[in-house]
Amino acid sequence: MGVSFVKVYKAYCNKLFLDNMVKENLVKDVVKEPYKYGFVTDIETEKIAKGLNEDIIRLISQKKEEPKYLLDFRLKAFKKWQKMDEPDWAGLGYKQIDYQDIIYYSAPKQKEKISSLDEVDPKLLETFDKLGIPLTEQKKLTNVAVDAVFDSVSIATTFREELAEHGVIFCSISEAVKNHSDLIEKYLGTVVPASDNYFAALNSAVFSDGSFVYIPKGVKCPMDLSSYFRINSGDSGQFERTLIIAEELSSVSYLEGCTAPMFDTNTLHAAVVELVALDDASIKYSTVQNWYAGDEEGVGGIFNFVTKRGKCLGKRSKISWSQVETGSAITWKYPSCLLLGEESIGEFYSVALTNNLQQADTGTKMIHIGPKTKSTIVSKGISAGNSINSYRGLVKMGTKATGSRNYSQCDSMLIGDQASANTFPYIKSQQPNSEIEHEASTCRISEDQLFYLQSRGIEFEEAISMMVSGFCRDVFNQLPMEFAAEADKLLALKLEGSVG
């Protein structure tokens, strides 16, 4: 895995974080990462043959009993993809992906039609139990509805009836294709067109499942909605697609979690998420990404190439992305906002933690099109081990974006002396009557800070995780309550030596 970064700011500090060798070793111990979601569920799966061609796409579409317009959408995307080149502008170093060596559809074998959760394979329920996402009626989380996706298919969605009473549709995207075809046809691909980028085109051609959310006019979704993505097969990719539509004056908070087993091969995950917010609607989309990151030598781990974008179509609409990215061997992800509606608001709050040989290239694009639009970007990158952690973002003020404002803050924290942190902010303004503000900082946990906490009886490891979570505070404050606690724990876990 050769790292082809040339012009990176290799953060080599003269006064190293810790001077003596004892502490150097301690740091190495501390940032060792235990991954407790690495188990594989032994379940009979239906897999199609490896490889990618028109027949495979027809087969996927056929398996899902899709209408013709969707098959056409896929085939068109595939044609575009074939003409595109894999992007390399992020300078990520990874082994060439052989797209013919991937299985594009893998599903646990289940009864043809499942009418209730009781009919879901107990092994699957057990898997989600183990992941802390119980699905059964007795045990399900009380304040959040969950759509559980296993490899290529959604296996269960909780609280459907309760949500339906409010007119909220929450189901797998495959189901939405069947039951809410009009909405799919109207919105699918309108935020992230198939031609947007290489991985979006690939996803458009082969996407298997994902979540669909529709919040009707004037409805404040009565509970948080959540999708949990689980990769189980080592040789199949996951290509989920999520579409969320918030009608006028509606609001929803959506959470997304993901884990995968530990394999020594790399698994491709190329998702697309599209959000649409109409007048006065608000969508809050939070992610805790904890895909398997590979081992200390960089063997295995998920390649996470994701396109997430929200369209603030309506006036005073708001889309807020918050993400905690701790997993994946490679993260390539820029949740963005197209601010079309007058006075619409886009937000991006991000914590990205990389360790060992992980690479993260993440950030956002805030495209101000309408007048008086506002965006806020707060990004916190933490790099430990030999990892590379980059913020890459674009703020663009279009010609009509008069009176628009952006504020960006990008902070990096380095742990140890082998990690690197980069910030690539791109700014394009075609509107003189708009404001763009950018702040950036790089810090290192200083020996004095550590000593101060230790001299108050706080253990070395706890001191580090305290400072890391302090560093991320601005972002954690944006996460839904339980998520914030989970994120805090997750970071501590990633940084601790021996937590079971």
């Binding site: 101060y452 108050r456 001191a463 601005d474």
Partner: protein, 261 residues
């Protein structure tokens, strides 16, 4: 100089301590014994090794002990981690308290207090119980409750930082407190508050080492012993009158002292 007739065992014994950083010798044979209830003052020019001595006792990783021992309650602590020393009851009040962005003062104080309580086999406190305890201690240093919700020392004035140190001392109830220039940067009112806080916290079981340049702190807290340090050694030890004399004559007066053996 020190009385041979002590009823209890010493809290802290520094025995012929030599220490260096980056191979540069800083301490060149320091000996110091503190018994319960005693207040020691250490004075001396900048760079004489006062602060280094305090950091080494607290376990700062940048310094290597090349010779000699530090004993706490009779046990050698040379190789203990800073947190182990703190948990067992050694407190260092920093000359320049460190800012920790994003970490709330309340949470920091609670985690720290619980680490000490755990060592003492006392029950750890949850946020609510801790709030009660801390409220009571805030009184001692006349600090406003609002300080608790701010990040540790961030944006605190010099005086607020020092008061926050004494608040920590009050919560941790150490057996020995080494206060490194706690008086520097304080106006007269703040000095009185800090001094009275220190006096209220200390008792017949605790030992205190005050590192200072000024008589004014010693007017508030009268030491039993005053030590003068120069070039990594204690060159003279006396009673509280030594500080007064030093105040009058300045450090130049001590230039001709040779180490008393």
């Amino acid at each position: 100089m020190q009385s041979k007739m002590k009823e209890s065992d010493p809290i802290l014994e520094v025995e012929n301590l030599f220490a260096s950083t980056d191979n540069l010798p800083i301490l060149k044979g320091v000996s110091l014994t503190v018994f319960p209830g005693e207040i020691h003052a250490i004075m001396g020019r900048n760079g004489c090794g006062k602060s280094t001595l305090s950091k080494i006792i607290a376990g700062h990783p940048s310094y290597n002990i090349t010779n000699g021992d530090i004993k706490f309650s009779g046990e050698n602590i040379n190789s203990l981690e800073p947190e182990e020393r703190a948990q067992s009851g050694i407190f260092l009040g920093f000359q320049y308290p460190i800012e920790i962005p994003g970490v709330s003062n309340l949470e920091f104080l609670r985690v720290s207090t619980n680490a000490r309580r755990k060592f003492l086999n006392k029950e750890e406190l949850d946020t609510f119980d801790f709030e009660e305890l801390v409220k009571e201690k805030l009184e001692l240093v006349k600090m406003d409750h609002a300080f608790l919700s701010r990040s540790v020392n961030q944006g605190f004035s010099g005086g607020e930082k020092k008061r926050n140190e004494i608040l920590q001392m009050a919560l941790l109830e150490p057996k020995i407190a080494i206060l490194d220039e706690t008086d520097s940067g304080l106006d007269i009112d703040a000095l009185r508050i800090v001094a009275s806080g220190i006096k209220k916290i200390s008792n017949a079981q605790t030992g205190i080492i005050l590192i200072t340049h000024y008589q004014r702190l010693l007017d508030e807290i009268e030491p039993n012993y005053v030590h003068v340090m120069a070039d990594g050694q204690i060159i003279k030890t006396g009673g509280s009158d030594l500080a007064l004399e030093l105040e009058k004559k300045g450090y130049e007066w001590t230039d001709n002292f040779v180490k008393e053996t």
